[in-house]
Symmetry: C2
Subunit: 327 residues, 2 copies
């Protein structure tokens, strides 16, 4: 509707005599979305649950919105960006760590490139990740992750990774918060890596980011100052049903709205769908080979469920008027 001349919109607004689900031009809260069914359903839902006195009204304290990260808020190809960070770090540090050379994952990373990673087990990959993700304090890790995000370039788009966020999703986050929703990231990626960008890029503070965590240990440095060290053992792998139990453990409530893109998000979206009262589930469908990527791998089950349960399936090709923020 944003492409209609302003006088038409004004006329429509005056003639119908009431607010419609779509805001008048100039105040469109989500201009990067095409004016299709997905956008209309989202705005109709938010209007319904935030209109006092309405039958679907939900009080602000219960307006919990959870977003997967990789493939939902930003791209995830050719490699999950948290993995790209790990590989870059390994490549940078391996020359000064000859003892790493015999590990299968290190061999694959240093010689075979991304394709060779596919031949490795999850255990081998985690052992390699632990080399550069752990064995340091929380403060040191935060500085390293921020520095990488500030500099590293996506190999295909030749832009910094954190600019490859979906503009329509940034607008959805802002729109929801403007309606007193509290927005959370619930990601299979490492939590402190995701926190390093969430505040500046998504407007989501660190404590509203739930992710995969390494075990942590409290101790003293040589000079007696207390620190928290990152240990090479996974404490919580935040995927599938663990996304749901972590939401309950750390947020303490059932979401009102959930957004995901892969089978790892199926439990989170189902739990939201089964809320007593209104709820909204949104599935991002990667169907735009030209502007983003086209794939259903890892999303077959959730796509089926989304159609069966009538969730909002967002086509990047058709529903995103613009994919990434302008460079």
């Amino acid at each position: 509707m944003k492409k209609l001349p302003h006088f038409v919109l004004t006329l429509t607004f005056v003639l119908t005599g009431c607010a419609t689900a779509t805001a008048p031009a100039g105040t469109d809260p989500m201009p990067a979305w095409s004016d299709g069914a997905a956008k209309q359903k989202i705005i109709a839902f938010v209007t319904a649950v935030t209109t006092p006195g309405g039958s679907d009204y939900v009080e602000p304290a219960l307006r919990i919105a959870v977003f997967d990260n990789d493939g939902t808020l930003w791209s995830e190809r050719p490699l999950y960006f948290p993995i790209a960070f790990i590989i870059d770090r390994i490549k940078a540090l391996a020359p000064s760590h000859p003892e790493w050379a015999k590990m299968p994952a290190i061999k694959a990373i240093m010689s075979g490139g991304p394709a060779a990673l596919g031949t490795l087990s999850e255990r081998e990959l985690l052992a390699a990740a632990a080399l550069v993700e752990t064995g340091m304090t929380q403060e040191d890790y935060r500085a390293i992750a921020r520095q990488w995000l500030a500099q590293a370039q996506h190999p295909v788009r030749e832009r910094r990774y954190e600019t490859l966020v979906y503009l329509p999703m940034l607008q959805l986050l802002t729109y929801l918060r403007a309606h007193a929703f509290k927005t959370f990231v619930v990601t299979g990626g490492f939590v402190d890596f995701t926190r390093a960008l969430a505040a500046d890029v998504y407007g989501i503070p660190p404590e509203q980011v739930i992710g995969t965590r390494w075990k942590l240990k409290y101790g003293d440095t040589a000079d007696g100052a207390s620190v928290v060290m990152r240990l090479p053992e996974i404490e919580s792998f935040n995927n599938e049903t663990t996304k749901v139990t972590n939401i309950e453990a750390l947020i303490g409530g059932r979401p009102l709205l959930a957004v995901g893109n892969s089978d790892g998000d199926l439990a989170m979206l189902t739990y939201t769908d089964d809320r007593v009262g209104p709820s909204l589930d949104i599935l991002v469908h990667h169907d735009d080979a030209a502007r983003e990527y086209q794939y259903d791998a890892g999303a077959q089950e959730i796509l089926q469920t989304a159609f069966a349960r009538e969730w909002v399936v967002v086509s990047i090709k058709h529903d995103f008027d613009q994919v990434y923020p302008s460079p």
Copy 2:
């Protein structure tokens, strides 16, 4: 200073020609505090870290304030209030559960009263707690905890438990938030019990409450709706150094300000004290037998450390002008 006549304060303010650490009467942000060294140090610290351009300025995103709960934000005698809840529930449900009768903790609770609890092991106590804290959905537990808080009376004060919060601490929370601090509860008590009061009483939303957690499990009810069940096994016992690792795991940053009252808070206050740059640690000292309780049990080590590290020791007797909100 709030007891001085208003014209004296106004005169002082005009003559000194600048803002002092204590606000003028009528705008005192913490009137339930006596105007002693503790209050002055707190206000001086908050002023220093929030004054732009000052050498101790700390950006809002780093203004993390963590508060222990039992004995820090509300009373904890004669029994921790989360334990009082468990005992009340056991007494209410035991008659319809004859199979509980052989458990040592149940015998102690049903016959001996609070004193008999002292003879039980932690394992025995937890087994009893699990009977009424677990085996239900998260939603059912939240409703039960809220209902108890709305009705149950403290045996000595004859007031509802959630009215036995320290008015000076409520004012400190509000004062900190007015200066863009984010306030968290970090409690050894069960997290969902604490969340049931934190929003309404402390103004702290559920995701900013970290506490002891039961394991959770995602599953389906008989009619196929997804739920999260509470299991009778502790997932995280949030005390001592685990308070610190949970702060890093769930908040992702080192606190700027920490408040506690017992040895279980020692690691949290030490970690805050060891922050690079300014920080403030506050220890609540239970020294008021008349208006609250008088005891050092369980706080001997942290009291010693507080004096050695020059933390702010808050005397309930001398620093709290009023202890609880007026009934």
